[in-house]
């Protein structure tokens, strides 16, 4: 072996393994990428409308309340109601506004509707204004029938393309249907409820703002 350079065999073995390693590594990474993308790919197959599609995002149900000093200002929101009237959120300054995002076909919305209808009547005299935002509903007739069904007297903005939702993007996004925002008398967001409201809980929340 005196003459045989030690590099040669070492170089050879590395030359054999390096491409193998490289190819395997590439395969590993590619297939990892594919599998991970596959998490989504599996959904892509089913994405779009499927037979199990509830058509709405339920989100993480829960209430977020903000202390008076930390309340984000509510954005300027205006639009046309289901009955064709113009409505501007700022014109209710001085009142506590309960802004409820709903759709006529959405089951949690329907389950919370009786509570909202009752509370809106109970708190009217205390300077509270309930306002609905009818989103994802293709046509005013459905919303009007919904209000009729549940005896809802307060106005609802008709917002099929989600422009009111968008206005709240930079504050406290109503990230599900239904979502409810409570805006205090100075136009600041005091609480957000994601998911159906509970009569007792909303009553307590509004009671704190009534004083």
């Amino acid at each position: 072996m005196s003459r045989s350079p030690r590099h040669a065999p070492a170089a050879r073995s590395s030359a054999v393994s390096a491409p193998v390693l490289a190819v395997l590594a590439v395969l590993a990474v590619l297939s990892t990428t594919l599998v991970l993308a596959g998490c989504s790919a599996a959904q892509t197959v089913q994405s779009g409308p499927g037979s199990g599609d509830t058509n709405y995002i339920r989100g993480t149900v829960g209430t977020t309340a903000f202390r008076p000093g930390q309340r984000p200002a509510a954005p300027q929101v205006s639009g046309v109601t289901l009955t064709g009237q113009r409505l501007s959120l700022s014109s209710y300054r001085g009142k506590v506004v309960v802004l409820n995002f709903w759709a006529s076909w959405c089951s949690p919305c329907r389950s919370e509707a009786p509570a909202l209808a009752q509370l809106s009547t109970a708190y009217r005299a205390k300077g509270f204004q309930f306002i609905g935002v009818n989103i994802k509903d293709p046509g005013q007739a459905n919303g009007a029938a919904y209000e009729r069904s549940f005896g809802i007297r307060y106005p609802s903005l008709y917002d099929p393309a989600g422009q009111v939702l968008l206005a709240f993007r930079d504050t406290v996004p109503p990230a599900a249907i239904p979502s409810t925002l409570v805006i205090d008398r100075s136009g600041r967001i005091a609480a957000r409820i994601i998911g159906a409201v509970d009569y007792t809980k909303l009553n307590d929340l509004l009671g704190e703002l009534a004083g």
Binding site: R6, A42, P108
Partner: protein, 614 residues
């Protein structure tokens, strides 16, 4: 150089020359020293080596593939929560168990995350140290010249009239000009070229890490959402607007780009005749969009694989269908529903579509319909069929129900399925309705009118900030891989001996008339084979060369030994390069321009010859 990951692939190197392999391979190392007791640190090291071994990576990769199987076999909460609930209620024993094992949320399951995190760690743990090693290797100086460079697989030696230092300087100049990296020593010069191979390898490894990071980046900061959009409708890019929404872990609802998209018109064209009749030809959705509220409205023709890009979010057209329009007057004479109801295509060749109409606000009882939409209706053997996907003769057929839809309880339910548990089928036979036609429901439950149809598209919005970095990394990785495969590292060594004692005996007879003696190192092996022993050959010729050597010595000549080897066997090529270099060097040294040149021997043969020579 040798991979730390070969253990599972190449196996132990059994030819006894694998010193370098053993030294570099931690698995081999641990296997080689089983007797040494492990401390906690030892165990940790052992675990780390196991984790970062290629074998483990492959096992993890396989596990990842296996782990995603239930995701496609069982209904998943992310895509189909209703089906999950159904499955659990239908399988009271297995269902809750599967649920506890997160098998309805496979891609969000902790064990799934564990697998891919381990895989990422394994890959990073392998690639990172290798990258460091490669970086060192790419900057390394060539090793010292061997004692007899001419005995390398490629080698030659000759005499020149130059002084040893002049000969070395000339060689250094030449090799440096040729792009070699040099290292000089006492009476020798080592040169190496092809570091680009290591650079390529390094590039590949770094790009691999970058690719992993990019994929992770996309998973953490990206999102994907789906929505069905009917002609005339629009949606804002907000969480609540979507039908399905899959955010990355770091995505907050306020991070979504504030654009809005409206669908004006969707147009699909189909092949009208021939064997492909009914096959789709083009899809085109005319959309308007606003990048943010208050921005100017823009138009865009959304087509398959031709997404709309708004602030990095991409809007894809992924499906389409029909939404027949209905007006339902309830038992009290009020409009309870008026809308286009999206039906899902049951048959994509003729677009027979199925759907349900839920009228939760109908009084006195809620109404529900299960419907079929036929774009081109033909009565066939008493059955309704569609013969073409274009609505040439659209019709719907409805089965009517009255009762409780189950919507008011708040339990989620599919918009494409009717829960008939609380409902009673109305005694009216389904009949085809054409646009404008009504069906009066029995029991004064109301009237349903098929007023027309619209089309819908399904849209996917994706935002993946890792996409471009991943692509760039992949390109760099492939480029690096090519470099490392195509560039050969090769070394050349020059050693000079003043022609006094040493070189006198090494003279070659053929060059006796010139002052310089030349021996070709590579050829020497062959000559040795022919003569039985190279040393003998040289010694035997010594007398003939004496005169010449004396000549050379008188002029202060030098014997130059010149050898080279390629560090990886990319087949062929080095012989020619070496020959050319040897020639150039010889010329630079003013030695004979036309050397006697034997076929260079392959490294294997020379290795064998070297054994003979001992």
């Amino acid at each position: 150089m040798t991979s730390a990951r070969t253990a599972g692939v190449a196996g132990p190197v059994a030819d006894g020359t694998g010193q370098d392999v053993l030294r570099d391979d931690p698995q081999q190392e641990t296997a080689g020293r089983p007797a040494k007791p492990f401390g906690i640190l030892g165990w940790l090291r052992w675990c780390w080596r196991q984790l970062t071994s290629m074998r483990t990576a492959l096992v993890l990769l396989f596990l990842l593939a296996v782990a995603s199987v239930p995701g496609s076999m069982l209904p998943q909460n992310g895509t189909d929560p209703v089906k999950v609930q159904q499955y659990i209620s239908q399988h009271p024993v297995v269902g809750p168990l599967l649920n506890r094992l997160s098998l309805f949320d496979v891609f969000a399951a902790p064990w799934f995350a564990a697998i891919y995190l381990l895989l990422f760690t394994s890959l990073a743990g392998c690639v990172l140290p290798r990258a460091f090693r490669l970086a060192v290797s790419a900057r390394a100086k060539p090793p010292a010249a061997p004692r007899h460079p001419a005995r390398l697989p490629f080698g030659s030696s000759y005499r020149t009239a130059l002084e040893p230092s002049e000969a070395l300087a000339a060689a250094a100049r030449l090799l440096s000009d040729k792009g070699f990296r040099l290292r000089a020593g006492d009476g020798w010069l080592a040169a190496e070229k092809g570091y680009l191979r290591e650079t390529g390898n390094l590039l590949f490894h770094i790009a691999l890490l970058a690719l992993l990071a990019a994929v992770g980046l996309g998973g953490v900061f990206g999102y994907k959402a789906d929505i069905l959009l009917t002609e005339g409708d629009g949606f804002a890019n907000t969480v609540a607007a979507y039908d399905q929404y899959h955010p990355g872990r770091a995505v907050a609802p306020g991070d979504l780009q504030p654009f809005t998209v409206w669908l004006d018109k969707f147009n699909a064209t189909y092949i009208q005749s021939g064997p492909l009749r009914g096959e789709p030809a083009t899809f085109n959705a005319s959309i308007r969009y606003q990048a943010q509220p208050g921005d100017p409205m823009r138009h865009y023709a959304l087509q398959v694989n031709h997404p709309l890009n708004v602030d990095g979010a991409k809007v894809y057209l992924i499906g389409h269908g029909y939404a027949p329009e209905f007006r339902v007057i309830d038992g009290h004479g009020k409009v309870a529903l008026q809308q286009a109801v999206p039906f899902l295509p049951a048959d994509t060749t003729d677009f027979t579509s199925e759907g349900v109409i839920k009228v939760p606000d109908a009084q006195p009882k809620q109404l529900g319909f299960i419907g079929v939409f036929l774009p081109t209706e033909v009565a066939f053997d008493g059955q309704l069929r569609s013969t073409f996907p274009v609505p040439l003769h659209p019709a719907v057929s409805l089965v009517s129900y009255a009762g409780n839809l189950g919507l008011d309880s708040g339990a989620p339910q599919s918009v494409y399925q009717l829960e008939t548990n609380g409902m009673r089928r109305l005694p009216i036979e389904p009949q085809p309705l054409f646009p404008g036609q009504s069906m009066k429901l029995p029991n004064a439950a109301g009237t349903v009118t098929f007023t027309g149809y619209r089309q819908w598209i399904s849209v996917q919005v994706t935002y993946d900030p890792g996409r471009v970095p991943a692509l760039i990394s992949a390109i760099i990785a492939i480029f690096g891989l090519l470099l490392s495969f195509l560039v050969r590292r090769r070394r050349l060594f020059v050693r000079v001996h003043p022609t006094g004692a040493v070189a006198l005996s090494a003279g070659a007879p053929a060059q006796g008339d010139t002052g310089d003696t030349v021996t070709l190192g590579g050829a020497a092996g062959n000559a040795a084979a022919g003569n039985g022993a190279a040393g003998n050959g040289a010694a035997g010729n010594g007398a003939a060369g004496n005169g010449a050597a004396g000549n050379g010595a008188a002029r202060g000549g030098t014997e130059v030994e010149f050898g080279g080897l390629a560090r990886s066997d990319v087949a062929g090529g080095f012989e020619d390069e070496f020959a050319a270099l040897a020639m150039a060097l010889r010329t630079a040294h003013g030695a004979a321009a036309q050397p006697e040149w034997n076929e260079p021997v392959t490294p294997d043969e020379s290795a064998t010859k070297s054994e003979d020579r001992k």
